[in-house]
Every structure is written in C-alpha cells, then in structure tokens.
Amino acid sequence: MKVSMKRCAVMLIVVFLLLPLTGCWDRRELNELAIAVGLGIDKVGERYRVTAQVVQPSEVATSKGSAGYSTPVTTYRASGVTIFEAIRKMTTISPRKIYAAHLRVVVIGEELAREGIAEALDLLSRDYELRMDFYVIVAKETKAEDLLELLTPLDKIPASKIYNSIQVSEKAWAPVSAVTLDMFIRDYESKGKNPVLSGIKATGNEEKGKQKSNVEKLQPDARLRNNGLAVFRYDKLIGWLSEEQSKGYNYIVNRVKSTVGHVPCPSGDGNIALEIIHSKSRMKTEVRNGKPKLTVDLRVEENVGEVMCQADLTEKSVIDALEREAEQSLRDIIERTIKTGQEKFHCDFFGFGEALHRSNLRVWKQMENDWEEHFVDASITVNAKVVIKRTGTVDNSFIVDKER
C-alpha cells in the first residue's frame, strides 16, 4: 500500500514536470492554417514574386450554407530576394501563416523558366513542411500569378483543378506529363537526360476570369488548358512541344497509359479511331563506329474505338492492315519527335544518354561531356508492334456503302 502511494506520487510528479518542459511548441489548430494549394513563382527584376493560392475552407466545404459570400480561394502576393522571405512576408497581409504541406501545384512563369529555375526550387526541396507530391508546371506565355488567379468551374479550387486535369489527361489522353519536383531535380542533375515540365495556358479573357462571375457562367470567360510539354536544357526553358510531339515524347519514355489515335480507313474515305489500352516501350542506345544509334521498341495494344467508314472488321486481313497502318503512324510520330529534339532543340530530353549509360558505361564515359553533339548526329530506329485486341460491342459498322 505504501509502495503504491509512493509510486503514484512519483508518477504524478513526473507527468506534471514533463508538461511544462516541452510539447505544444509546434501545435497549430486547423483554423490557424492558411492552406496553400498553389504556389506561383515569377521574377520581377532581381526579386522573386511569389503568389500563394490559399483555400477558404468554409467556401469549399459544401455543407456550410454560407455559399457565395466570397471566392473559394484567395491569393497572397509578396516579393523578396529569396522565396522563403517572400513567403514569410505574406503574413503582413494574411491573418494566418502559409501552410504548404498540401501544395498541389507549383506554377512557374515562362519568363522565369527561360531564365532558369534551379535557384527557385531549392526551398521547395529543402523545407520540411513540403511534401514531394506536387506537380511543377510552367505557365505558358504568361506569369504564374495570373494563372493562379483564375477561377475554375467543377473543381472549386483552381490549383486542384490543375492537378487533377494533369492527372486525368495524362492517363486518358497522353500529351501531358505529370512531373513532380523530385523527378525534375533528378532529370536536371542527370547528364543523360534533360527535364520536361507540363505547360498550362490560360485561354479567354483573363481579367474576367479572375472574378467570381467566371464560374457562374455556362461558358466561362477564361479557362485553364493543359498545353503541351516545356523542354528544358538543364533548368532553362528552351521551347515547347506540340500536342503530337508531347504524345510522341510520352510514347518514347513509356509514360502512355491510354490514349486515342486514328488511322485512315482501308477504303480511304474516312478514319478509324484506335484506343490504346496498353503501351510498353524501351529505349536503347548503341554506339557503332563512334556514332550513336537510338532505338525505340514499342509494343502497343489497341481496341477499335470508332469506325467512320465501311470496313470489314471480321476479316483478319483488314485487322492486320489496320495494325500495320497504326504501326506506321506511331513510327512517324516518334521519329518526328526525336527529330525535333535533334534539330530544333539540340537537346536530349528523352534520356537516350541514360540508356547508353546503363548499357555501355565505357562509351558513355567518353561521350558524356559532349553527349548533345553525339545525340544530334544519332540515327533513329523505331520498332513499333501494334496488336488490335477488340472491336467494341459490334463487329462491322452499321454504315453501309456511302455511294448508296
């Protein structure tokens, strides 16, 4: 009995001594957070201009009946010599400290991207609060701050609209690449591959897009659109890929999950849409006589998705012809894309250098310092293999002879 009283007393004392000693120092209630979902970085003169898109939770959560009092997000802007300073400086205009763990996208203005973004990204990779799962994107032909101030329908939070549309578009349409910060840094550091980032463009009337009326209209005044890939040499933007080239890029680096393409009908009076349901590619780089040879092996499984002409899909020969046609069109896309890299950008953003590094270290060691020159001269071989699996719920189209 005596022992337990003593133990009880000791434990109580220990507990009460612990409480004032430590704890609680980094405690933050949910309503003390300014949840930043988007961060825009621009450069104005020598100073960085940072825009934070912050959620107004009560406007986003649907259950509360206060709908319509204000916009679902608000933005804070501040500039500073360093980005960290700029973000902290936001407390001069914001009642809450920016909380960036739930960041969905970091938008970089095209101007800054052309100057180089490595310096701007260090904070994001260093700060403990940030997670690595946000996408880094480039604002095409505009400043990041303008892009983050557009309101979007369907998804109330513009940053999460951008995030989701990149994700969905990458899965279903392919000419988009969801690049996270760590992927960018890895490509930036690699000698055998240069980074790409997705681009976003604002279309329509930007000024009207910043008002709440933008989301009240059936056809909004301004929209955000995924717009091809931005090619970087090291950390500097050097140009943009078209939609077709972006798709080609994703075929080469094996990032196509599903997309749709078309081939002309065998009869020549219409098109047949083919849905890619599975795509697997492998890059190879070999060096013959001091000249690199770039090879892309591609195996694609497709379904017939849409037939706009008369074609006998029950015939194996027709299907075979379609497969050959599709292979040819894939080869063309890929070759054109690699050529763009060689001729327009003089820059290997596909990672053929890395492929060489993996397959032949000795040769790579000789070539790594002037790889781009070798890359530009390299010959290209594309081996595409297409298999058509299914034709949908009908065999032949109901379309009868168009001459009738």
Partner: protein, 504 residues
C-alpha cells in the same frame, strides 16, 4: 454489544433462553416458541428459537412443531433421557440437523436463519437450518446478454448459484469449499474448482488470500476482488466478474477458480487474462468463423475507443500533412469559428458524454426521457449549431463512446475509457510521438501485471503459439481439444478428437 463469552449450554431452559436473548440484545424479532412434550406425568419443556422472516415458518410448523406435538403421545413408557436421541432419530423430519453445546454457535446459527431447539434439562440442543425468505428468482442476465446461449443468470443466493453451476458441470470432481468472511456480515464465500484440472498453487493462493481478509462486512464481490487482486495500482481489472453460469462452467473446465459470494449475482474468476476480457460467452455458441470476425471487430473497437480522439487531436494539431487535402479542407471548414483548441473541444465533449452516461445509470427511471432528450440536443445539435464544437468532433466522440461498449466486460470498458483521457493529454502535448510513448508505457504496464501468478498478457506476451487458438481467432470446436496452457497444465487435453465420424 454483548461480549462473546463462549458460554456452555446450561441444563436450565430459562437460563439458556435468557442468555440467547441477552446475546441478541433482546431483539423483538427473535421468536421463542415453547412447547410441552411427553406425558402429563413427566412433561418436558422444549423451546424453539428463530428469527422472524429469516426462517421459513411454514416448514417449522410442518416438520418441527407438528411431529414434536404429536409424538408426545408415543413418549409414554420411555425414559426421559432418551428424548434428545429420539428427537434426532425419529421425530424431527428434517435433513440437516446438528447438535450444539455452546450458546455462541447457537446465536450464530440463529443469525443465518436456523432454528435452535433447546430441551429443558439437557446441555445439548439442536440446530436445524430452516432459512427461507423472499428472494429474486433466477432471471435473464442484464449485463451480459446473448442472442444465442443460455439465458440464466446468477442470483443473490449463493446456494442457487452453486446449484446453477453444478447443474452444468455434473462431475464429482467439482469441488466447493466454503469460507465465512466478515465479522458482522458473516458472508458465505465459496470457492469452486475442478479437482485435477485447477492448479493447486492457484487455489491454495486463493484460500490464503481469502483467509487473510479481516473486514466487518462483505456486501459485494467487489470487496473480495479488491482484497485478493495482485496489483492494486492499475486501472486494468485482473479479476473477471460474470453473472453467467455458463461462463463460469467453461472457465472451471479450463482449470480456473471461481469465487462465489453470498448476496451478489457477480461471481469472480481467477486467474483472469487481458484477452479474456474480450471473449464473450457467445463466441463459443456461434460458428467459429463468425466468432472470429466478431472478435476482430471487438479488438478494432478497442483501438477506436482508446486512440481515436487522441489521434484526431494529434493529427489535426500537429500532423495536418497526414490528412488528405479534401478532408483537411472539410475539417478546417468545420473548425472555422470554433473558439477552443481541439484538445479542449475533445475534453468538453468526452466529459459531457461521461456525465450523460453516468446520469443514465444513476437517474431514476422516470426521468430517463428528459435526460436522453437533453443529451441528444446538447451533444447532437446545439453544440454544433452554436459553433462551440465542430461536427467532426461529435462524430469522433460518438464512435468512441459506442466502441467502448463493444467490450464485453464493463470493468475493462471503464479502464479503456480512462486510458483514453491519458492518450488525449499526451496527444495534445506531444502529438503522435506522445501517443506512441503512451502505447509503449501502457504495454509495459500491462505486461508487468499478474493475475494469481499468471502473466496478464499471456498468451500474447509471453507468447504461446498453441494458445492462439482462442485469442483473436476462435478456431472450430473440433480444433479446441486442448486447455489453455496457462491454467490447464495438469490435464492439457480435453479430448484427442472431438469429432470422430468420418465424412463418407
């Protein structure tokens, strides 16, 4: 208070009566009935003493008074000295009868409802147990209800309770040993175990601890439990109490020891292990797969009941990055305008709930409606609508409250609720780190406990593979052919193969 004089019975009837009256302080409910037996020539005075309402008067009339008065005719021709022997052998039509020669034992028997018979001129009297009073019938259990299974519960009468157990286990090896504890209450405490199954060390330890109790009154099994438990400095119960005879029978057959206390329907079981507080009697009556799933659910509920408010506090105040963005925004929206930190909010709601729960037990049944209306309105609506408490906190508190009642033993569910506050404090001060420190501390504490020498956390820690058949899993009856090694070492096999028929 009359002193205990250890008086011998005198030959004089009146002296004896006077002494008994003196020892019972001349209470008015001591009934003294004097009868005269034998022939008129040599009448013998006999006195019956008993307490009103403690003894069954009908039985006294029928089996003591009537034979005595009628037998007086046949007394003729017999020696007067033969009377006591005659009474015992052929007159009194009762089963248990014993002689006494000390007035103290007579008084003690009186207090238990016996009839004391004193014959004038003899130093020996008889004690005839004739206890009989109004009592509750065997009813359905109120705390440990089942859907499938026997619906009998123990009553306040220890004899009925023993009978309930013996009716299930009809084995001559079922031992019952009695003790009387309480200088004033003279409470009958019985220990039951299976000879050849129960560990001798355990039941001798039970006797040793019971015999060392010095107390004036034992009113409930809780008194005994507190005196015999291994560790008092813990919130976790180390002795199970149950009101189900089937549960006791099952435990006896595992080699455990039951302690029955007169005056309460709650029977104690030792040794008791942590995992047994999560086993309901019904687990063994349903199919094994169903029981296993339900048992898993119970452990899950244990997790919810101890940790969910703490996790909620820790995650929303320290680790917001762990919440999915959509959920975070919705939680943040609910917290807009809430004036308290999450911890204070949680404490307010938990305290409110505990008050409501206690009120629900304590209040007169007639005002139950009022309490439940106030409870629903206060907890469910007003607090949220006034913006004092966030809606998500209500959800957290409700799910925790419900979960704690999934645990079949009430003692354990209280322990779980207390530890919940401990975890909430740690979460508020140290976040997840605090919660994990708390879990480690509780686990260390649990593993340090013993119940009558058996480690409290066995068979999980120390781990025993064979005993896992009945911890989280409940394997089929066919596979449960061995007794738990913690208790049933003496006779480990129930039977080698319970199902001997072959599928054709």
């Amino acid at each position: 208070m009359p002193t205990n004089t250890n008086l011998k019975t005198q030959t004089n009837l009146e002296t004896n009566i006077e002494e008994i009256r003196r020892q019972t302080c001349y209470s008015d409910d001591l009934i003294i009935r004097k009868v005269r037996v034998g022939a008129d020539s040599y009448p013998i005075k006999i006195a019956l003493l008993y307490f009103d309402a403690l003894s069954d008067e009908q039985l006294i009339y029928q089996f003591i008074l009537e034979p005595l008065m009628q037998e007086s005719v046949s007394m003729e021709g017999r020696q007067q000295s033969e009377l006591p022997e005659l009474m015992m052998d052929s007159i009194l039509a009762v089963g248990q009868i014993s002689k006494f020669d000390s007035l103290d034992s007579a008084v003690q028997s009186l207090m238990k409802g016996c009839v004391v018979v004193i014959v004038d001129g003899y130093t020996e009297g008889f004690i005839i147990p004739m206890a009989g009073w109004e009592q509750r019938a065997v009813a359905e259990p109120t705390n440990q209800t089942v859907i499938r299974g026997p619906k009998e519960a123990f009553t306040e009468n220890i004899h009925v309770n023993i009978a309930l157990i013996r009716r299930i286990v009809k084995s001559p090896n079922l031992v019952m040993k009695s003790r009387t504890i309480g200088t004033m209450s003279q409470t009958n405490v019985s220990v039951m175990y299976m000879e050849g199954l129960a560990d001798k060390d355990v039941y001798e330890e039970v006797f040793r601890r019971l015999d060392s109790i010095e107390i004036d009154a034992v009113l409930e099994s809780g008194y005994i439990e507190e005196f015999i438990q291994d560790e008092t400095f813990t919130i976790f119960p180390t002795i199970i109490n149950t009101e189900r005879p089937d549960a006791i029978a099952a435990s006896l057959l595992e080699g455990r020891v039951a302690i029955l206390i007169d005056g309460t329907p709650h029977v104690l079981l030792v040794p008791s292990l942590f995992v047994q507080f999560f086993q309901a009697a019904e687990d063994y009556y349903h199919r094994a797969d169903i029981s296993t799933i339900i048992r898993g659910l119970r452990y899950f509920a244990l997790f919810i009941a101890t940790l969910v408010p703490a996790l909620y506090i820790a995650i929303t105040t320290y680790h917001q990055e762990m919440i999915p963005t959509q959920l975070l925004i919705s939680l943040a929206a609910q917290r807009e305008g809430v004036p308290f930190p999450a911890f204070v909010e949680a404490i307010i709601m938990e305290a409110t709930y505990e008050i409501l729960r206690e009120a629900g037990v304590r209040m007169p049944r007639a005002v139950g409606q009022a309490v439940s209306i106030v409870g629903t309105l206060v907890i469910g609506q007003a607090a949220v609508e006034a913006g004092i408490i966030s809606a998500s906190m209500i959800i957290v508190v409700s799910i925790t409250a419900i979960s704690s009642y999934v645990i079949p033993e009430f003692d354990m569910s209280i322990a779980v609720r207390i530890s919940r506050f401990f975890f909430m404090g740690l979460a508020a001060a140290f976040g997840m780190f605090g919660i994990f420190i708390g879990i480690v501390a509780i686990l260390l504490h649990l593993t340090s406990l013993r119940s009558f020498g058996v480690p409290y956390m066995s068979p999980v820690g120390p781990f025993n593979f064979g005993d896992q058949k009945d911890v989280i899993l409940r394997v089929t009856q066919r596979k449960m052919n061995k007794r738990p090694s913690m208790f049933g070492k003496l006779n480990p096999f129930r039977q080698p193969n319970p199902r001997r028929w072959k599928r054709t």
